[in-house]
Symmetry: C2
């Protein structure tokens, strides 16, 4: 990381606060109050739903959209999922053992340290500002992001799956009742800045639990079979002429 961060402890309000110590993510030696999400200050003002999404996707597990006994808890801090089963059960009332294996695996896959989540939040913020039609950040946020990620390229954010450019206004487009843009992972089991980005909802769904390279290989193998069958069909058509 190019700039040094303040890192002073900040008190939080979640029931899981005993697990981690929240930190100030402003630059070291800053003036004024400490702040955990200084990079989101501007988006919180002008696009609060986008800012909330960045925070939520970076730090929370996504659970099932519906409630049921075996669906597991919805939206809990990712670092909580690093705890062993018995601690989750005894201290937080989360009974991993009673969940279906696939729900359990999905929850555990979302586990990440507080530090990784905070790095992801900052990276997603950069990705937002680098979208087509994105708002222009105030100079201090722009410089902060450049300081942390050594880049700031307007109009460069692509869907990490289909590599098409993403437009900031897509955050407001609802499709099937959900946001058109989702947070996505090149490898769904790694929550770190280099592995996270935005994707179209359909692209994210199509990728499923595969890594991007697995997904591309899968597409190549399908298209090879499609093309082969097309040629066989052509051959048959040719023969019957």
């Amino acid at each position: 990381m190019a700039i040094e961060l303040c890192g002073k402890p900040i008190s939080g309000r979640s029931r899981y606060e005993t697990l981690i110590e929240r930190r100030c993510y402003r630059s070291a030696g800053h003036t004024g109050k400490c702040d955990e999400y200084p990079f989101l200050a501007h988006l919180l003002q002008i696009a609060p739903r986008v800012a909330a999404k960045v925070k939520r996707d970076a730090t929370k597990t996504t659970g099932a959209a519906w409630k049921s006994d075996d669906a597991g808890p919805n939206r809990i801090d990712r670092w909580v999922m690093l705890l062993p089963d018995d601690v989750l059960k005894n201290e937080f009332g989360i009974n991993i053992a009673s969940m279906k294996p696939q729900v359990r695996a999905k929850l555990r896959d979302k586990a990440a340290t507080y530090e990784d989540c905070m790095d992801v939040a900052a990276m997603l913020t950069l990705n937002v500002y680098e979208m087509t039609n994105a708002p222009i950040p105030p100079p201090e946020i722009r410089d902060y992001l450049i300081g942390r990620f050594e880049r700031f390229e307007p109009n460069s954010t692509r869907c990490i799956v289909c590599l098409d450019y993403l437009d900031f206004i897509s955050f407001d487009l609802a499709q099937r009742g959900r946001a058109h843009i989702e947070t996505a992972h090149a490898n769904p089991r790694m929550h770190s800045p280099s592995n996270v980005g935005f994707a179209h909802r359909e692209c994210n769904i199509a990728q499923g639990s595969s890594s991007l390279s697995e997904f591309y290989d899968w597409m190549r193998s399908i298209l090879a079979r499609v093309d082969e069958h097309q040629s066989q069909f052509d051959l048959v058509t040719e023969r019957t002429k």
Copy 2:
């Protein structure tokens, strides 16, 4: 259709029975009792869950897996969805207007005539018997299916999306708590024998609401971009050597 069917009316028990007249689908001039699903008789005995799936997928809409006011009705006869909004509301208590547009569209997309549903059921039965490791049908069912579809090719059923061969035992494999094989549509808005088949669950999810040709085009455009970026990356790497 190569063989003529009996076609005599059969009485049904559903609350929507006034809408359609169920028919006998045995061959014309058959002896013994009329039967709506003669082609499923054998599967009902040896693989009842597969037979039930064929019947259900051919004739019912799939609704949401969970219950909520706007999720719409779950599993109702596809031909019911051909009725206008006011008839659905007044005669069947289904209030289409109160559903979200996407739920409404999804339900209406599943609409199909009784005749199409019955043809799909017979075609899916043929597809089951043509899977690898499928049970061998009794001669009368084999001949009936050949009579209707002019083919019977063991080990020939492929996933309609990825074109890989499907194995009958996959019906018993559960993945993410659901069947590994799903009924799928080359064009999701047409429920007819030539447009329906089986697919892997992941393939069906990846295809989403696109037609197969749209889905293949989408994959090709993604891979073209992936390859292009890969080359650009190679170029940059080359330059910095």
